[in-house]
């Protein structure tokens, strides 16, 4: 469908919609689940201010519950000294973090200035509050119904177009709309303008929303269902233009929403009273999200310190705090306790690489699940390990062999820059083509079976035709999941054997030149400080998680690979680094890789902690014993870390050997804990953390400050992997502190809609965040909700120079979205960074100076 060019009024509306959308976070589809800070759009505010705004608009409880702190005090996880110290540091602040200055460039001005108006966040919600009706909830239900139908492909306009065009095409005959808004209201909706922008403007006018209040109204509209709005935001602002599937855009979504709000309000004013929006008792309002938002913003979320056993003077000090401050103090204390424990454990050296050449080096993803594997592998002998983001610095669009669609293997912050493909390893003698047909045929049958299961009528036909086989298979899958999985794998290999393949840059218009490949390799090696002392074997190890019947499977895969498995990225990087031409180019850039060094690819299966080495045909016969030794040591290390991780899993399957069963069981709701309990992002040489059991709680990024005089590597680490780690950390945080609004609820009640998300039950909003089973063990939080602690080994001046030139770091650091500690041995060991770039020497709680040691302005000035 074509449409006329936008007018000035429409263009202004588009800018307003973009501003309003800051209140929700993008929601990626299930196939590439990306953890995101749900308050990312508010990051220009301080953390505490953003929490306050999210309480008003979304009804979010942004701080941990009193129960969590009471438990922490009982177990010694939080001690009075932590609270005294937090009071000393934060108690006198009127507002935490950076105050919101009037006229601040780039801030969400309208949202900040007014927040939600009394009684609700939209015009209709305020009408509801004043009249005791539930019209806004009716809009939510209707819009959710249309969105689900559109996402599932059930609702579509024959000439194309988005949700608005499809909805407008059918709404004139929709009986539910007539029940809501009456015949007249339905006719109004059916006669809305062609363009979604015009429809929004018309509905805003009908609702009486002045232009000055427009952003607030639009924010309120989006905040009512952050799931569908977040999906629309992702589609409108983050997804690639060529993304397949129904495209639900923000303007279409708002046009439908506002249409219902306008006609419902008019119908109510005119006296139309439907069964679905009849008046209800006032006290019933308290169960709705809108009223929840009001309760949260009015202070219900404050932590009551009387819930914990504390000395009287401390209790009085906490009780005397202004409303809202106590929650911030308790959180700061809880976080400081972890910080003190971690830094206390990292007392060793920060420099030094092995004097003797290691047997092998292994580069693992920074994912917290790699930490245990690195520790146990190093304990096996002469191994040196590194941490780097699991896409290995190669943002690529990857087409697996036989796949119809490529996948983007890179973090959400970056677009793929190169096409890479998987190809049969042997010169084609016709067998590869035959195997491709077999694989695609099998994939087609699997897809057809899945589609038939979901079809309205096909499901009955399928049950009749295939029930005789599906029934016994279902029983086998239930009572012996591991055996069933092995059988299925063997059957698949028998029916459609895969040839040996290689992963290499594709011959496309985005093919990587040798120079580009060398630049990528140099960047990766230099950023993690591996530019000399190469071992004979260098393993690049991605990771992935195999689970069954799990809509959130990609949440357990590699975030740096866009929620995909990491093996292909490792294979591509290893292939490039093994090319003689690239070695020559690297040597000319100062990185000499010995001729006997072989880069290997591998993948860490995080449910079982088994590491599989890949593409071993690159290993000459004479080196295979060394590779076999590496595999054996990886097996032992994997078994050790599997035992560690299994102990933390609740239920009967705690044995490390049960990993395979958890992986294959289609009734398993918690195959692994994923990144739960993540707490810190450590940037520095491995010498800092080697030998310390970090309990799989830290993202570990290798960094050599001595080889980074200009801070370029540090800038790369802090502006990309650290931001991704912050997103992960924030998602776990908010899914834990407010699972009702920012978590996805109980997995057992989930229904997948359109392959893009899940609903709780059969309707309503798309669920955002993580399921309860990812962060809770029964009724208790398993994840410890804390803001990410970023621990950096670097000169303070280098760090501050990097912060000064990157707004995203200033927002996160100065707004206390993360905590920063820096170890600069020339300046006296660990120091805590305060907002604005001052530092105080770190000492455990109760002994740390409250006064800044010195400002960094002179050092920054000296460095320019």
């Amino acid at each position: 469908m074509t449409k006329a060019s936008a007018s000035g009024e429409q263009a202004i509306l588009l800018a307003d919609v973009d501003e309003a959308a800051r209140i929700v976070a993008p929601l990626w589809p299930l196939s590439s689940f990306i953890a995101v800070n749900p308050l990312w759009g508010l990051r220009e505010h301080s953390f505490d201010r953003a929490v306050e705004l999210s309480a008003r608009f979304l009804g979010v409880h942004g701080y941990p519950s009193p129960d969590l702190y009471a438990d922490a005090v009982r177990t010694g996880r939080l001690v009075p000294e932590d609270l005294w110290h937090a009071l000393d540091e934060h108690g006198s602040e009127k507002t935490a973090g950076r105050p919101a200055a009037d006229g601040e460039v780039g801030a969400s001005g309208t949202v900040r200035a007014r927040g939600a108006r009394a009684g609700g966040t939209t015009t209709l919600a305020r009408y509801d509050a004043s009249r005791g009706t539930r019209l806004a909830e009716s809009t939510d239900a209707e819009v959710a119904r249309w969105c689900a139908a559109y996402a599932a492909g059930v609702l579509a306009h024959p000439d194309g177009g988005g949700l608005y065009a499809a909805w407008r095409w059918v709404v004139a005959r929709d009986p539910a709309t007539r029940r809501l808004a009456g015949v007249r209201g339905r006719a109004v909706l059916a006669s809305l303008p062609d363009r979604a922008e015009d429809a929004i403007l018309a509905s805003l006018e009908r609702l009486g929303v002045a232009e000055v209040d427009r952003v607030d109204e639009l924010s309120g509209q989006l905040a009512r269902m952050p799931g569908w709005a977040g999906h629309a935001l992702w589609r409108s602002r983050w997804a690639a233009a060529e993304e397949p599937g129904p495209a639900l855009h923000l303007l279409d979504y708002l046009a439908v929403r506002l249409g219902y709000d306008a006609v419902q309000r008019e119908a109510a004013v005119d006296g139309h009273e439907s069964a679905t929006h009849r008046r209800r008792p006032r006290n019933e309002l308290r169960s709705s999200r809108a009223s929840r938002a009001l309760r949260v913003s009015s202070g219900d979320a404050d932590v009551d310190p009387r819930d914990a056993t504390l000395p009287d003077d401390l209790r009085r000090a906490l009780t005397a705090l202004a409303p809202g401050r106590a929650a911030a103090i308790w959180l700061a204390a809880y976080e400081a306790h972890f910080r003190d424990d971690l830094l206390g454990a990292l007392g060793g050296a920060v420099a030094g690489r092995p004097l003797n050449r290691p047997l092998a080096q292994a580069v693992f993803c920074i994912d917290t699940r790699s930490e245990g594997l690195r520790r146990h592998l190093e304990a096996r002998g002469r191994y040196e390990t590194f941490g780097f983001a699991g896409f290995f610095g190669l943002p690529m669009r990857f087409r697996p062999w036989g796949a119809a669609e490529p996948i983007d293997l890179c973090p959400a912050l970056v677009r793929p820059v190169a096409d890479v493909g998987e190809y049969p390893a042997q010169v084609d003698d016709g067998s590869a083509a035959r195997r491709l047909e077999d694989v695609q045929g099998l994939a087609g049958m699997t897809d057809a079976f899945a589609a038939a299961k979901k079809g309205v009528s096909a499901a009955f036909v399928l049950a009749e035709a295939g029930g005789f086989a599906a029934g016994p298979l279902g029983v086998a899958k239930t009572v012996a999941p591991s055996a069933y999985a092995r059988l299925r794998k063997r059957l698949g290999t028998f029916l459609a054997p895969r040839p040996a393949t290689v992963v290499e840059p594709a011959a496309s218009d985005r093919a990587m030149t040798d120079d580009e490949q060398a630049l990528f390799a140099e960047t990766m090696l230099a950023t993690m400080g591996l530019t000399r002392g190469f071992a004979p074997l260098v393993l690049l190890c991605g990771h992935g998680s195999t689970t069954e019947n799990n809509p959130y499977a990609s949440a357990l895969d590699c975030g740096a690979c866009g929620g995909n498995r990491g093996a292909s990225s490792a294979r591509a990087a290893a292939a490039i680094l093994n090319r003689p031409q690239i070695r020559l180019l690297l040597e000319s850039r100062g990185i000499a890789i010995p001729d006997d060094t072989i880069f290997l690819a591998g993948e860490h299966e995080t449910v079982t902690d088994v590491v599989k080495l890949l593409d071993l045909d690159v290993v000459p016969h004479g080196r295979r014993a060394a590779v076999a030794q590496l595999q054996e040591d990886l097996d032992v290390a994997g078994a050790s870390v599997a035992r560690e991780r299994a102990r933390r899993l609740p239920g009967a399957r705690q044995a490390a050997s049960a990993g395979e069963a958890r992986s294959a069981d289609w009734a398993e709701i918690r195959p692994e804990w994923g990144l739960a309990r993540n707490a810190a992002f450590v940037v520095g040489p491995r010498a800092l953390t080697a030998g310390v059991d970090l309990d799989s709680r830290c993202f570990l990024h290798s960094y050599d400050p001595d080889g980074d005089a200009d801070g370029l590597a540090l800038e790369t680490i802090l502006t990309a992997p650290m931001v991704v780690a912050h997103w992960i950390n924030a998602q776990y945080y908010f899914s834990t502190v407010d699972p009702d609004v920012l978590g996805a609820g109980d997995k057992t009640a989930h229904n997948i809609v359109g392959g893009i998300g899940v609903l709780r039950g059969c309707g309503g909003d798309l669920q955002v965040g993580l399921p309860l089973q990812s962060v809770f063990d029964a009724d208790r939080a398993y994840h410890e909700p804390m803001r990410l602690l970023v621990a950096v080994v670097a000169p303070r001046a280098t760090l501050e120079a990097v912060v000064r030139r990157n707004a995203v770091l200033r927002d996160l650091f100065d707004g206390r979205w993360v905590h920063v500690v820096v170890r600069d041995d020339e300046a006296g060991g660990w120091a805590v960074r305060r907002p604005g770039g001052t530092f105080v020497p770190w000492e455990p709680a109760g002994r740390m100076s409250a006064e800044p040691e010195r400002t960094m302005s002179e050092e920054i000035g000296a460095r320019g």
Binding site: T2, K3, A4, S5, A6, S7, G8, E9, Q10, A11, I12, L14, A15, D16, D18, E19, V105, G106, A107, S108, G109, T110, E197, S236, R237, W238, A389, G393, P395, C410, P411, L413, V414, R415, T523, L712, E715, T716, T719, A720, P721, V723, R804, R805, N806, A807, V808
Partner: protein, 111 residues
């Protein structure tokens, strides 16, 4: 400008904006009927927000980008209205200038 050159006058709009705002600027440009535009990611320079290095390797959204579009005067007003509203709340620089093109049809397709 010499008329004998056979060029057609149009308006060039350049906006320097945060990488994450490229999507909304692109939408604005498309919605007013422009037929194409150019995005240069990770630009560097000095502004009232300080010096921007423009060398973020793995983050397209937090650097600055330069978006350039050429369009006939008739389509320019709406775009400027939208960009001005956007820049009321975001960091950025908006530059508007006359320019001349040799193939006007490329920049002014019917909508």
């Amino acid at each position: 400008m010499d008329d004998s050159w056979g060029l057609t006058r149009m308006t060039r709009v350049e906006v320097v904006i945060g990488g994450e705002d490229v999507a909304v600027v692109s939408s604005l440009i498309s919605d007013v009927g422009a037929t194409g535009f150019t995005v240069v990611p990770n630009v560097s320079g000095l502004g009232h927000g300080g010096f921007h290095q423009g060398r973020l390797l793995f983050n397209d959204r937090d650097g600055l980008a330069l978006v350039t579009v050429v369009l006939p005067d008739g389509k320019c007003g709406a775009l400027l209205d939208g960009l001005r509203r956007l820049l009321e709340r975001r960091s950025g620089v908006l530059l508007v200038s006359d320019t001349w093109v040799s193939r006007p049809g490329y920049f002014d397709s019917p909508t």
